[in-house]
């Protein structure tokens, strides 16, 4: 029998996978995908809680997270594309005009 705890555990695992991905990968596109994983972990938690609490607010939240994530992709890709055009390289470790 699956309870809400299983879903929350799964979402916690997904969240940690995403967090680890962000921390150890250096390609912005891959970091980006890891961030999406973290967002979807939150989505899963929201839906699971919503079902458990019999309260639709959580599912509405997920709708909005989906669109916000799409906007995030749009903004993030736009920045990465602009960056690529300016320097033909997007590795985070080699992006170092700014330091101090």
């Amino acid at each position: 029998m699956l309870t809400v705890n299983h879903f929350i555990l799964l979402s916690a695992i997904l969240f940690c996978l995403g967090a680890v991905g962000v921390l150890i990968r250096r390609n912005p596109l891959v970091m980006f995908m890891s961030i999406e994983l973290m967002l979807n972990a939150a989505n899963l938690a929201f839906v699971a809680f919503s079902r458990y609490l019999n309260n639709l607010d959580g599912q509405i939240f997920v709708f909005l997270i989906l669109t916000v994530a799409a906007a995030e992709v749009a903004v993030g890709l736009a920045i990465i594309v602009a960056m690529f055009r300016a320097r033909e390289n997007v590795d985070v470790d080699e992006v170092n005009e700014l330091k101090g």
Binding site: T67, A70, A71, L77, A78, V81
Partner: protein, 124 residues
Amino acid sequence: MLDRYGIVAIFALLAVIFPAIPLLLSLVIRPKKPNQSKKATYECGLEFEDFPEEAQNVWVQFRVQYYLFALIFVVFDIEVVYLYPWAVAYNTLGPFALVEMIVFLGILILALAYAWRNGLLEWT
């Protein structure tokens, strides 16, 4: 009971006919010029053999326009998330919901017009 299945059957029939029409139509009106790469499995119109040696691995660089189109696509793809529940609940929402949706789509169209005007949709 039977007439309910009848509705399902009609839907199933429509579901088959609807995609079949454009396929048949294009079969009739398209020019027929087969070549090797078109007949290849998973063909996508790019003549792979013509690529230079170093570009033949999987990490082909795509034109940046792919991304720009994808960006605009994503925005219009995701708006359906709002349109669908709105359409389902439309009867109970009243006319104000229609106005709200027009405003929402208007904002998106303004953004599309801006992108268009600034040449983002041109494949040059």
